[in-house]
Amino acid sequence: MGEFVLPKLGADMSRGRLVEWVKKPGERVARGEVIAVIETDKANVEVEAYDSGTLEKILVAPGSEWLPVGTPLAVIGGEEVQSAPAPEVPRAPPTLPVSAPRDSPPAPAPRAPARAPEAPRPPVRPREAPRAAPAPRAAEGARLHVSPAARRRAQALGVDIATVRGSGPDGRIVLEDVEAAARGASLAAPVPAADKRTRMREAIAAAMARSKREIPHYYLATTIDLGRALAWLASYNAARPVTERMLYGVLLLKAVALALRQVPELNGFWIEGHAQVSEAVHLGVAISLRGGGLVAPALHDADKLALPELMTRLQDLVTRARASSLRSSEMTDATITVTSLGERGVEAVYGVIYPPQVALVGFGKVVTRPWAVDGAVRPREVVTATLSGDHRASDGHRGGIFLDALDRLLQEPENL
């Protein structure tokens, strides 16, 4: 028996609204399958189930009001809960090394397979007791009773503690409440409805303010000759119909993904004072939304995808991002962010890292510049690549190696 709760889909998400139930009561749900569509301050997100079983009961109807992260939405029951294998799940590899400390995975991790090791932990007490008698929420301005462990976990997971309802003694917010909130499970006072764009602004504001407050950024830039890459791409596209063509951005993404293998400390998270390098490379692609705002959903395993596949995934991701139909895992488990503002003529981007990630790669506009080649000055198409690094997790020297690797990779587009 499991509760399906409103999941935390990003460091800056504190609430969501149920848009649609994809599964109906009585239907089988496999872990990792899309069960519902949730509206967040940023996008509509297809949310996956964490348990396999039968969708027994729906607790919240679509179109309901804003709900705090952690609100129970449905009951998934059945004999196979937890013990069921999850063959349907397309991607098995956990986001983070298995040896990571128990409380390591931040919000980005709660993709079903990665959660498996934690799932069997038995409840500390009968669930019903605290749920049946939730303590009143602390009055406005009153000090919240939060256990130290819960407070720290909330910080790591980016959970706004004020939105979590405590189930501990005297209504104290305890560790499990925060963890539940991160995957979904508590109640909080409704937040006044606001204009969607305003809400997204607030969400971005929270994440970016936290980043600038906590992360000691360093910035590096290099100019990369894109001549060979663009020439290779032109010949590639010339031979293909429009449906099979690639954007040069795909080359940049693949090159970033491969360069990260050489400087892995840029790919991962800073959590609770420790760097956690991710084995998988999930590129968060910054996608500006029409009318303002942005999301940075993940292109999973970008380092392992062939360019055409990467293009297809990117196209799908951008389309769904702009149609507000991202999946929960895409929203949460990027290991680094890549942003390109070249479309609007920007020459260089010095980006703000999206916590708890530790790096952001930026690309500007492709411009033609005089360039010294073999002793002669020639016009070449170049792009300025920048790296914003978290100095707690890496040093400028390593960042420089990354940019250098990026440059070299882009000189051999056929090998990308």
Binding site: A234, G249, S288, R290
Partner: protein
């Protein structure tokens, strides 16, 4: 296919990438990229839409010709006509 029919299909393809588009307010000569905040991905998706609607494939070399609504309608008309 008349130019109006072409224009209607083009607008439909545009609307797929720029849902907030209000056709009446789009000046025929306005630069679409600036007017509609079209980026390269939108452009590519739009071309895919054109390809489906008209059965034509736009080579990369022609992309720069498709800057305004009028230009697109003209380009499509010419391409259809050529067949």
């Amino acid at each position: 296919m008349t130019n109006d029919e072409i224009k209607a299909k083009v607008l439909a393809a545009l609307a797929a990438v720029a849902p907030e588009l209000e056709p009446d307010q789009l000046a025929p000569g306005a630069n679409l990229r600036d007017e509609l905040d079209i980026d390269s991905m939108d452009a590519l998706n739009f071309l895919v839409g054109l390809s489906k609607a008209f059965g034509i494939d736009v080579p990369e070399a022609d992309y720069r010709k498709l800057s305004t609504l009028d230009a697109i309608v003209g380009y499509v008309a010419a391409r259809i006509g050529k067949r």
